[in-house]
Amino acid sequence: MRVTDRLIFSTATLETGRAREAAEQAQEVVSRGTRIQHPSDDPAASGMIIAFNMSSDRFAAISSSAAAASDELSATDNALDGIGNALSRARELAVQFSNSTYSQAQRAGGAEEVAGLLGQVVSNLNTRFGNRYVFGGTKDGAPPFDPTPGPTFGNYLGDSAARNVEIAPGMLQQSNVLVGSMSTDSADPNSVLKTVQALQAALQANDPVAVQATLDGLDAGINQVSTTRSQVGASMNAFDTAISAARTASGDDKVRASKQGDVDLIESSIQLQATQTALQASLAATAQSCKLSLLDYLR
């Protein structure tokens, strides 16, 4: 091949340019930590990275809302625990004052305590978590059990709608429990609030027989609280499992996206070293080949 000066210089320009471009790209890959700067770097992986990241975000959102539902159920459980304790105490008082040896004044004292317990139960039934009353169904805005003293006290103002929260894309889990049957206006003659009210009335009336008659209702109420707590526990388990599964799925998708796009630092560092060495060699060779000329030897 005939070597001309323009060939020498254009080859030098081209080859050093290529070597510099390769070194530059290798440096960018190492400094950015990702091998995909533009979809054309790997079209299939680019699409997958977006899909994996979207999927990861979706699972992270599910995990976060399931955690909120779980926290709310935890508050629900605490409220039910309070109601259960109050009912147990009311039952103790009913057993105690169904004994005919107590005086009217003592039963009146008991009635006072039961009134307090009734208030405690209603207060627990009106437990609020954040902006929402946990026992009101979907009627979040107002206390579901009427706290106003009077004939409507303890009436249920909520609805019977289930609230559902996603535990996986398209899969829902109920995140509330419905306890409208504990209200004073319930169809159940032995509803919790009716029974506690009846106990209070019996104690005030100093009627040990009527006091004793409330025991069945109180037992039924304690059982209802216990059963409801079991439902809450089951839901919490479902949400806790969902949180864990969604976090794992989110993490897995992030890893998948990362595998597609992130660089292997060892490999890319070696590549950087290799391209920089190639650039040095190219520059040295160019400098050397440009040096040699007949001009230096002619006098």
């Binding site: 000066d5 979809p39 979207m54 959102a61 909120a68 902006n131 979907t138 979040d140």
Partner: protein
């Protein structure tokens, strides 16, 4: 016997020939870095007729026969095509590489806006009466709409940038075509003197190379020495001493882009030329504008249209906290997908109006905690859009398809660039100037010149000897 004066005369001519040799070497050295220059060689020949003396022929020295150019027609015939292809793919690749709106790792892209929308909706579905979550979801919906607006705007902006580039290129092409037409005339005139106008041919070749690079033009030499230039679509850009003119005009569409119109070398108007009528940088620029970028823009429009309509369909069935249903979440959509991404906005400004609850049957009112419609809205994330794929796969496809088009253009640009570089290097090897060679030629000419001077000196001494016989 040879005449001493004829020896001197022959020496004089030979000196001139050596000077021509040096001058040509000097011209080569001067143009060693001139693009398109093909090295020239001064061809010396024996001066005839030789003098016949006593039955023998005695030579009369050397003279310059011609100055030739080192041109490899086989290589040069391949170069315009290679230049055009490399320029086409490089222009397309550069244009697509410069658009980063669909980068997979970029923050604030379509993927993350859609994810953010559904993440906010997931939180709101868990607690639809929370005013903060409602506001946050409305914000996410606005972000989604603005991301569609921005993505569409960026694509259009990239396409408008290519319009500006195409406009500049047409001016350059016109100027190069005019230069070729003028050189056709000058070369014809120069050839009339009987000599080959090497430097004019070089200059014309440089302009032809430029036209191949700018417009993918091909060339047809004519029998009278002109070169006619044709665009890839078969349109004549240069015919003899006349050149056509490209100009740009608004296409009347919204958004507006440029059409390229053509006035033929004979002055008649040909009207609008399609993008396929051009190769080279202009063809690549138009291909990027009307190919991958346009397709990506249309697909983003289609996604915005389908997704917004799917969400609107579900949202309008739900009720806001005021109990009213039938509201659309997204507005700004027309009857077709065209322009949907640029126009989509959020129709609702009051978070309370977000239709997260099922529509109540009067006299029932909306329960603030009712998220039944929010759950249906979440279903749009995984439901198939009219295109047959869900939103995630659609976004993924848009990115992959754009990436694939860019990667193909880049691969072709690299491949054609390598071919062009190879041919150019081979041409440089064949036609380029070697300073070493020229130095040797100059040395050779110098030696010859010195030797001829010695001949003159010797002849002069002989003449003096002859003249001194009488005195």
């Amino acid at each position: 016997m040879a005449n001493l004066l004829s020896i001197l005369s022959g020496a004089q001519t030979s000196l001139a020939a050596q000077r021509a040799l040096t001058a040509t070497a000097s011209h080569n050295i001067n143009n060693a870095n001139t693009p398109g220059y093909a090295r020239q060689t001064a061809v010396l020949t024996t001066l005839t007729p030789a003098e016949q003396v006593s039955g023998a022929f005695i030579g009369r020295g050397a003279t310059l026969d011609t100055v030739t150019q080192a041109r490899n027609r086989f290589l040069e015939a391949q170069i315009p095509q290679a230049l055009g292809n490399a320029a086409y793919n490089t222009a397309e690749s550069d244009a697509l590489q410069a658009y980063h709106g669909l980068d997979p790792e970029a923050t604030g892209g379509l993927g993350s806006a859609i994810s953010g929308f559904y993440a906010s909706l997931t939180s709101l579905a868990q607690n639809p009466s929370d005013a903060g979550l409602r506001t946050s979801f409305l914000g996410a919906a606005r972000t989604l709409a603005r991301t569609f607006n921005r993505t569409s705007g960026e694509i259009e902006s990239a396409r408008s940038g290519l319009d500006a580039q195409a406009n500049g290129l047409t001016t350059q092409i016109n100027s190069e075509a005019k230069a070729v037409a003028e050189l056709n005339v000058q070369i014809r005139q120069a050839r009339g003197t009987g000599a080959e106008p090497n430097d004019l041919l070089d200059l014309r070749q440089t302009h032809l190379d430029k036209l191949a690079e700018l417009a993918g033009a091909s060339f047809v030499p004519t029998s009278d020495g002109d070169v006619n230039v044709t665009l890839p679509g078969g349109v004549a850009l240069v015919a003899g001493s006349h050149s056509g003119t490209l100009s740009t005009t608004a296409d009347g569409q919204i958004p507006t882009h440029l059409d390229i119109t053509f006035t033929q070398p004979d002055g008649s108007k040909l009207g609008i030329l399609p993008g396929t009528a051009f190769g080279g940088t202009l063809g690549g620029t138009l291909s990027a504008r009307d190919g991958a970028l346009l397709t990506s823009g249309q697909r983003v429009d289609q996604l915005a249209y389908d997704l917004a309509n799917a969400i609107n369909g579900v949202h309008s069935a739900g009720a806001g906290l005021d109990g009213l249903s039938g509201r659309l979440l997204f507005a700004g959509l027309g009857a077709t997908a065209s322009g949907a991404a640029a126009g989509v906005t959020v129709a609702i400004s009051d978070p309370a109006q977000l239709g997260m609850a099922g529509a109540p049957t009067p006299p029932a009112t909306v329960a603030p905690g009712d998220a039944s419609n929010a759950q249906f809205l979440l279903g749009t994330e995984s439901a198939a859009l009219p295109g047959g794929k869900d939103v995630r796969s659609t976004v993924s496809d848009i990115v992959s398809q754009f990436g694939s088009s860019s990667a193909t253009a880049k691969a072709f640009a690299d491949q054609d660039g390598a071919l062009k570089d190879n041919l150019t290097r081979m041409r440089d090897s064949y036609s380029g100037v070697s300073i070493d060679e020229e130095m040797i030629t100059m040395q050779q000419a110098q030696r010859g010149y010195e030797a001829i001077a010695k001949v003159i000196q010797t002849t002069d001494q002989m003449m003096q000897t002859l003249l001194s016989i009488k005195t």
